[in-house]
């Protein structure tokens, strides 16, 4: 139940930044196959996710956030 909640919130936050409906996109879909997920939006998305979940990613971790699943895993690591 907790995982579903994180997933819904994550998709809402990321979808807003990327201006894309992510609900139909697989969690493992690579970042470069998602329209709008460019380098600048990636940084904005990281900041938005950090605000939403009260977490903070290291500079080493940020480039590794290359799918919805990877972002979710990084959040769960800190919760």
């Amino acid at each position: 139940m907790k995982g579903t909640s994180i997933n819904d919130r994550l998709i809402a936050v990321m979808g807003e930044i990327l201006d894309v409906d992510l609900s139909g996109i697989g969690a493992e879909t690579p970042r470069d196959q998602i329209v709008g997920w460019d380098s600048l939006n990636h940084l904005q998305m990281v900041m938005a996710v950090e605000r939403e979940f009260g977490v903070r990613f290291s500079m080493e971790r940020i480039p590794e956030l290359d799918s919805i699943a990877a972002v979710r895993a990084a959040i769960e690591d800190q919760l």
């Binding site: 600048l40 940084l43 904005q44 990281v46 900041m47 903070r56 290291s58 500079m59």
Partner: protein, 175 residues
């Protein structure tokens, strides 16, 4: 413009300005750049001003730090508030740094006839300004910041920020 300024601007061969910059400041001013030499100008050693860049210094002080890189086709002008560019900062091609602005308080007076105002611009050390950016009067950019291409900055940017858009907004904090 005073006679000396006119002579320096139109009659002084550019290669002499390049030689003067190298001897006086230890910097490189491209022979194809147009840099107004005046007492307002200070350039740190190791700095580079690339071709087709125009630097106007008659309006106020321009202090360029050490190892600053100003790329091709930029425009820098100063007002009374001055412009300061910190050490090891980089300015990409086609950027504009404009240290003054017209007042527009009088509706019935043409804007061109109203006063020029200048709060000054401060670019702290280790700042990277991308191609096509406009840095306007009143801007202060904190050290370690990155201004992405075509961004417009006229306010205060905290240190270690990545700024994008028009008006420029902080999209990321470097860590």
């Amino acid at each position: 413009m005073k006679v000396g300024g006119i002579l320096r601007r139109f009659l002084l061969p550019r290669f002499l300005i390049t030689a003067y910059g190298a001897m006086r400041y230890g910097c490189f001013i491209s022979p194809r750049a147009e840099v107004e030499l005046s007492r307002n100008l200070t350039i740190g050693g190791g700095s580079v001003i690339s071709s087709f860049t125009k630097v106007k210094t008659t309006g106020g002080p321009l202090r360029i730090g050490r190892d600053v890189s100003i790329s091709t086709n930029c425009f820098l002008s100063t007002g009374g508030g001055g412009v300061e560019i910190g050490d090891k900062s980089m300015i990409g091609p086609n950027a504009a740094v404009i240290g003054s602005a017209y007042s527009y308080l009088e509706l019935t007076t043409p804007i061109a006839d109203q006063a020029l105002i200048s709060k000054g611009i401060r670019i702290e050390p280790n700042v990277w300004i991308g191609a096509g950016c406009s840095i306007l009067d009143g801007a202060t950019i904190g050290t370690g910041s990155i201004i992405t291409a075509n961004t417009v900055v006229s306010g205060v940017v905290p240190p270690n920020s990545i700024v994008s858009g028009n008006p420029g907004k902080v999209i990321f904090e470097r860590r």
